[in-house]
């Protein structure tokens, strides 16, 4: 009488998840998600997150289950660093902030952003940061090709100290982990003082005209005068465009200009110092200045991501150096 053979143990979930054959399927899923992300307008972040999450699960399970992977230190470190990269990238998305802000020359950053996308775990410290845009220069090559951007900024520290920086292109302003980048989005701003009737305090403000030179022929903007229902519309007319296609140029204020102001049915042309009266108050045009659009980025995982990436590449190189130290032709 022969014993009935015991059924082969079914592989557990962890072992299935750790399969190197599953790794291939996961890599294929990641590739499909990446292609889909490139094809769909606006991307497919959920599909990417799902695919990379599956990759992380496969990698973590393999590190636990696959003894062969742990037996080789370099290979183990490589895969561990890859797992760390995936984890850090995910953590970074939860804690990151990506936003934009526009500051006219002389305007102080007050922590408010124009656009803002923040992860659910982001702890906002922007309100503590203070810096002022002290103006910028941008060189242009013939053909309106943007060259070097040099933006002077002053930073006000918590201790009352002031430091000066020149930022632009590959040199962002880094404050408490927040990185402020100059962008190609910049233009002219009209400065107004609004003096309301009835003794209320005057207000000063800047109206940002559309990005220049991208919208060189649409330098107009409308806004609502504060405390009123009155819409105002302005258009900048320059005697000569500061940036011309046929010669090297520099972004700078036009040598002379006039401002067309439309209030209701009334159209006026203003020069600096001119004013326009309305039943609610007087609008004084103080002059023209420039504004810079900044990209604001915060991700506390950046240095850890870099360290993990370098460790991964170093471990991979170490693994292959040792593996192929044997003479060529001795077998794979």
């Amino acid at each position: 009488m022969s014993a009935i053979p015991a059924p082969a143990p079914r592989p557990g979930l962890l072992r299935t998840l750790a399969s190197t054959r599953l790794t291939l399927a996961v890599l294929a899923v990641i590739a499909v998600a990446v292609v889909a992300n490139a094809q769909v307008e606006g991307g497919t972040p959920a599909a990417l997150a799902g695919a990379f999450g599956l990759g992380a699960a496969n990698l973590a399970a393999a590190l636990v289950v696959q003894a062969r992977l742990r037996a080789d230190l370099a290979l183990f470190v490589f895969h561990l660093a890859l797992l760390a990269l995936l984890g850090l990238a995910a953590a970074g998305r939860l804690m990151a902030l990506d936003g934009t802000v526009e500051l006219a020359q002389g305007e102080i950053f007050d922590g408010q952003l124009l656009t803002r996308e923040a992860g659910p775990l982001h702890r906002d410290r922007l309100a503590r940061l203070r810096f002022v845009n002290d103006g910028f220069t941008i060189d242009y090559a013939p053909g309106v090709k943007r060259g070097r951007t040099a933006n002077d900024v002053r930073v006000f520290g918590d201790d009352g100290g002031v430091t000066r920086h020149v930022i632009g292109d590959i040199d962002p302003l880094v404050l408490d982990g927040y990185r402020f980048y100059t962008t190609s989005n910049k233009g002219f701003a009209t400065l107004f003082r609004w003096v309301p009737r009835g003794g209320r305090a005057p207000e000063r403000g800047a109206v940002h005209l559309p990005s220049y030179p991208l919208n060189a022929h649409r330098q107009a903007q409308s806004w609502r005068i504060p405390g009123t229902a009155r819409e105002a519309w302005v258009m900048l007319e320059m005697a000569r465009e500061p940036i011309e296609s046929g010669r090297p140029s520099r972004f700078q204020l036009p040598e002379s200009h006039r401002l067309v102001l439309v209030l209701g049915d009334e159209r006026r042309e203003l020069r600096p110092g001119d004013s326009a009266a309305t039943p609610e108050g007087v609008l004084v045009y103080e002059g023209l200045t420039a504004w810079m659009g900044y990209r604001v980025y915060y991700d506390p995982t950046l240095p850890w991501l870099l360290a993990s990436a370098l460790i991964a590449v170093g471990a991979l190189a170490a693994f292959y150096v040792r593996r192929f130290r044997v003479p060529a032709g001795a077998g794979a």
Binding site: T20, R21, T23, L24, L27, A28, I30, A31, V34, V35, N37, A38, G43, D98, A141, G143, K145, R146, G147, R148, T149, G168, D169, I170, D171, P172, R179, Y181, R295, Y297, L302, L305, L306, A309, L310, A312, V313, L316, A317, Y320, R323, F324, A328, G329, A330, G331, A332
Partner: protein, 268 residues
């Protein structure tokens, strides 16, 4: 002078490729002639690129002409180093050099405009990124040329001085050495590219067309190496996968910039 030197390089590269293919067909070793012509062509090409760099004020990374010409230079350099250092690589010249010559023909058919060097390109990370990318593609070209000989069967193996199953395995080992080199340098290319992107555009990765396709190439290379282990694939299948990854890398390097107005989103 710049164009004349490029002409000398074209003639030398053409001569090297013709010698390699002719030698293979006739069964003669012409290694010294191939190496000499490649070295002479490289010297002329190097001076031509240097003169252009000096004239336009930036390295050959911007226009399609510059991308193609500098890659012909780097592919030839990497291949020549492998040719001189690893004797077993030499027969692969008959496969690798015609590919380089096709790129060279494409270069000559492209308008040699100077391009505009954006301010965000003025960083050492760009040079590191480009250099790692060139080593990656060069190493993958060597691997691919060897893989093509493995795939060609007994005659291809014979040009490598190998025969039989053992010969195939030994040839595959050589292929894998260059694949490994390519994998490491592609990883370095991606890392340095991400550092540059963070400094220049405020994001380390944004899935722009080049980032997407270079990541797909990395995934394909990782997948090929994993598949070989997971299914214990033989040298011929491994070789076919290496050639497929090379095709993807060529599409990334030369196809994406060809259809994209700027190499990286936000670069200009």
């Amino acid at each position: 002078m710049e164009a004349a030197l490029l002409g000398v390089a074209v003639a030398a590269y053409g001569g090297a490729g013709s010698a390699a293919v002719g030698g293979t067909i006739l069964g003669r070793r012409v290694d010294a002639a191939v190496a000499g012509l490649l070295a002479g062509g490289l010297a002329a090409h190097t001076v031509s690129l240097a003169l252009r760099w000096d004239r336009v004020g930036h390295g050959p990374f911007i226009s399609m002409f510059e991308v193609l010409s500098s890659n012909v230079w780097s592919l030839t350099l990497v291949f020549l180093l492998a040719f001189l250092r690893v004797r077993a690589v030499r027969p692969a010249a008959a496969v690798a050099l015609p590919f380089v010559f096709v790129l060279l023909a494409w270069t000559l058919a492209t308008h040699p405009d100077d391009g505009h060097f954006p301010a965000t390109y003025r960083t050492l990370w760009l040079y590191a990124h480009v250099a790692f990318g060139k080593v990656f593609l060069g190493a993958l070209l060597v691997a691919t040329a060897l893989a093509a000989l493995v795939l060609a069967g007994p005659r291809g193996l014979a040009t490598l001085g190998r025969a039989g199953v053992e010969g195939e395995v030994a040839a595959e080992s050589l292929v894998l050495r260059f694949v490994a080199l390519a994998f490491v340098f592609e990883s370095l290319m991606l890392v340095t590219g991400a550092i540059w992107a963070q400094d220049a555009w405020g994001r380390y990765w944004a899935w722009d067309p080049l980032e997407t396709w270079s990541f797909l190439t990395w995934i394909a290379l990782a997948g090929a190496l994993h598949a070989r282990l997971a299914w214990r694939l033989g040298p011929r299948v491994t070789s076919a996968m290496v050639i497929a990854v090379f095709a993807l890398a060529v599409l990334t390097f030369f196809g994406v910039p060809f259809v994209s107005t700027s190499l990286h989103k936000g670069a200009v």
